[in-house]
Structure formats: C-alpha cells, structure tokens
Amino acid sequence: MDLIAHSPSIDPNQRSADVRSLPTAQPLVETQDVTVKFNDRPALQGVNLAVRSGEVVTLIGPNGSGKTTLIRVLGGLIRADAGAVAKRKGLRIGYVPQRTHIRPSLPMSVARFLALGGKVGKADVADALAEVGVDDLANASVHRLSGGEFQRIALARALMQRPDLLLLDEPAQGVDVAGQAQLYQLIDRLRRERGLGVVLSSHDLHLVMAATDRVVCLNGHVCCVGSPASVANDPAFRGLFGEAAAALAIYRHDPAHDHNHDHGPHTACDHDHHH
C-alpha cells in the first residue's frame, strides 16, 4: 500500500533530475502571475506554474478553488485577465474535460468520436482503445456508455492527438477504485514511455498522490507546492483539507528523502486575507 515511497519508477525527485538534464527541460507550458476573474470575482490569483516533459502535476483543492479554471487556461480555453501563459512552440495538447455532454440527437459511435480529432485510420482507433483498456467498445454508441467508460474514451481521444501535454480535469470522477488504479498506472506509463507532461486535477487525495511528481494545492491562489509527501505535511495543506489530510499521514514519506519541499508564495490557504 505504500505507493509513494517505494515505487522507483515514479520517484519524483529522481525523475525531475533526469528531465532537467535534457534539452527539453524548458517548460512545455508556463503561467506567470496568471489572474482570471469571472464577473469581477477572482477565480485565480497570481498563479505561477511550469510543467515539463515527463512530469505529472496534480492540482488539488476544494470545489471552486480554480482547478478547472487553471486547466482551461493551460488549454487556451480561457484567457488570463492578467499575467501570461507561455507555451512551447508547436505544443500538442490532449484535453479531457470534467464532463462531456454529447447531445443525444447526434448519432455517434465510439470509433467515430475518436476520429473527430483528425484524420486517423482504424488501426489508430483500435490502438488508442486498447491503450485505455476498452477495445471492445469501438462500435458502441457514445450515448450508451457509463461515466467511467466515457472517461476512458475521452482519454483515448486525447491520446490520439499524440500530445506533448495531457490536461485531465478530474479524470477519476465516476471511475471505480480498480479503474482509478489502472488510470494512474496508464498515466505513469505514458509519461515514462512517451515523455508526456501531465496536469490533472482531483479532490481525491489518496490514489492521486501515488502517481504524482508535484502537487499544487489551489484555493484561488497557490497555497503550497511540493512532492506529495512534503505537501501532505504542509500546514497549509492540512488547513485546506483538515481531517482528510490527517488520513494521508499513512502515506507519509520518510523525511530523509524529502528534498523537494518548496512553498508557494503563500503559506496559508485561508482565502479571507484577500478580501
């Protein structure tokens, strides 16, 4: 069960050291002091985040903390009201939104849905479906899928873009525990084999930590950043998640391996001091 500490393939510190030595170590995407407002209410304030190849970054935070907004900013779907977003030239992004609602009036098979992203052959579709473990669904109607099945299909579609960066908004939602474990294994394999950068959001604290290099706690602003283990010990994190954070203690990292602990500009996740 000790997923963080003893899984060498996803040791966050080792990995970032590898990546930094490569010429591609410049970030895939980087936000600088990004602020987004909805009707004058700030949804994100002064967010700095850089994502590199082969790195899995997890955004956690309560509902309304700006996780989805930040992912949409990274995907270019929302323009920042202040600050800047720099993307590597020619960056290819695969995006899985929190929920996809295809109107029932639009008849569509799974294979067709996958092919919407560009000209692809049948073999590509079959490969992508096999990769996410639902190769038997190619001819099914997208309207008959369960929530978990659709999440996998959406991920397969994103993978067909041959992305450099994968943006997954709550990918574990509606997926059972076994499915979640498979999902995080897949994410881990993708970043190892293809060097993908991955940004995902979650409010589930347990499984997500296992496959993550860096955790970013959001609450409108960045409250704390670091390796899963260091963040779990962070008072800001505990302030944000209370009881749930205490439960995480069972995954606590050996402090000796805890190199990567760095704080964001704020040490507390209290939203009120902004008003």
């Binding site: 295809i102 109107r103 098979s109």
Partner: protein, 265 residues
C-alpha cells in the same frame, strides 16, 4: 401529362430539401430550432425592403438573413436571459416588423400569403438557378468543413484545444443557415422554413447511426416529403408549401411508430 410549372416546382422543392437536410441536422444537433425560425422570420422584412428598393427579392432576403445571423451570433452573451427567451422575443418581432413593412408598401406589392407559406408553383428558371447555384455553395462549404464542424458540435472545448477554430466555424454555420433560408423562402415561405430544416432531420435520427447517415436519411426524407406534398397539392388542390410540411410531419410520425415498434420487438 406534367406541365413545366410542375416540373419547376418539383425541381425547386427537391433542391431545397437536399440543402436543408444536412443544415437541419446541425440545427437539431445544436438546438438551433428557435434560431432558424428567427432567421426565417427576418426574411419577410428582407422581402419587403427588396421590393421597396427595387432589388432582386432573393438578394434582399439573403442580405437580411446574413445581417441577422451576424447580429444573433453574439446572443448567448446577453445578460441573465436564456437565448431561447431572447429568440422568442426576436422571432415574432421580426415577423411583425416584416408584416408592417410589407403592408406599408404602396399598392400591396408583396404577395403575403406566398411570402408566409411559399409559392412553389410560381417558381421560374431564375428561382431554380438561385436554388441550385446557392445550394451548391452551401453543400460544397458543408462538405469542406464537415469534420471540424462535427467535432465542434460534439464537444466544442475539446475541438478548440485540438486546434479547431470553433468560433469561426460557428459563424460559418450561421451564414450557411442564412443562405439556406434565403433559398427556401420561395418554396415553403418564411413561416414553414423551420419545419423543412427540423422535421426531416428529426425523422432521420431514429434510423441513423452516424452523422453522415443522419444527413443522408434526412435528405431522402425531405425529398420524399416534397414529392408527396406536391402530389397531394395537385391531387386535392392544396396549398403546396403547407402540403409539403404536413407530408414531412406524417413521415416523422411514421418513423416514431416504426422505431417504437423496433424497440418493442
């Protein structure tokens, strides 16, 4: 023996049905039925202005439809009212304005009944050239934009991240819809254009398993409705436009019954 005007009517009806079918599918997929109605209702105003200014009515209707399509494109971003509420205000207002403009013209030069319900039996070679020339433009554009349009219809956000210019595509779709409205006015009139867009597409839904299949089935349904409607119009001396729409509605009812039976079986 078939007279020329019957052949013209048939050719015009079939042409409009073929163009309206795929666009009607997008209207159904994207929930644009109200929008199509508002566009169609603006056509009466265009017709009246065209006659007042001495411009070809087809060109005036097209200009007005394009103008309204552009104006309505920004509608979703309009305060707390839902877009169907706004369209529910705009569509009848446009119709009322068109009606008043038409009656203000000296000498009652607008054939109101024809404008409202269509006058397909009065179609001439010039109208046919309009319908087939314009129709070809619409269908060629749709074929060219088909894949990205379907992608943007299924999930606009994912399509946008994948690099599709969703905003420009939406605008293109509205302009094609405006052109289709302008082509269809003569055949079914401003009040019934919406039906020609929506009913064949809705009929095709239960039979289709792919977007293309639905567009093709809608086209076949529309053509069949035109043939049946015109036949009924001749046999029983019915107004042609309404007869076509009723034929389409009957086909829809049959498709419901058929798919209900298929599900029960």
């Amino acid at each position: 023996m078939l007279d020329t005007f019957i052949l013209y009517a048939l050719a015009a009806g079939v042409g409009v049905a073929l163009v309206a079918a795929p666009l009607g599918c997008f209207v159904v997929w994207r929930g644009l039925a109200f929008f199509g109605d508002a566009l169609a209702h603006s056509a009466l105003l265009g017709l009246a202005f065209g006659i007042a200014l001495g411009v070809a009515p087809g060109a005036a209707v097209l200009a007005f439809a394009v103008l309204f399509a552009l104006a309505l494109a920004g509608l979703e971003r309009f305060g707390p009212l839902a877009s169907d509420t706004l369209l529910g205000i705009l569509a009848p207002s446009l119709l009322a304005a068109g009606m008043i403009a038409a009656t203000l013209l000296p000498g009652a030069r607008v054939d109101l009944l024809g404008a409202l319900f269509g006058d397909v039996l009065a179609v001439g070679p010039v109208d046919l050239a309009w319908i087939y020339g314009g129709g070809l433009v619409v269908l060629a554009s749709l074929a060219w934009l088909w894949r990205p349009l379907i992608a943007a219809t299924a999930d606009a956000d994912v399509a946008a991240v994948e690099g599709i210019a969703v905003g420009r595509l939406n605008l293109a779709l509205l302009l094609l819809l405006a052109l289709t409205v302008a082509l269809a006015v003569k055949v079914v009139g401003v009040l019934l254009i919406g039906a020609l867009l929506v009913i064949p597409a809705a009929t095709a839904r239960s039979l289709a398993r792919s977007p293309e299949g639905m567009a093709g089935t809608a086209a076949a349904t529309g053509v069949l409705a035109v043939v049946l409607g015109l036949a009924a119009s001749f046999a029983w001396d019915l107004p042609a436009g309404p007869a076509i729409v009723l034929a389409a509605a009957l086909l829809f009812a049959f498709s419901l019954a058929a798919s209900g039976r298929a599900q029960a079986a």
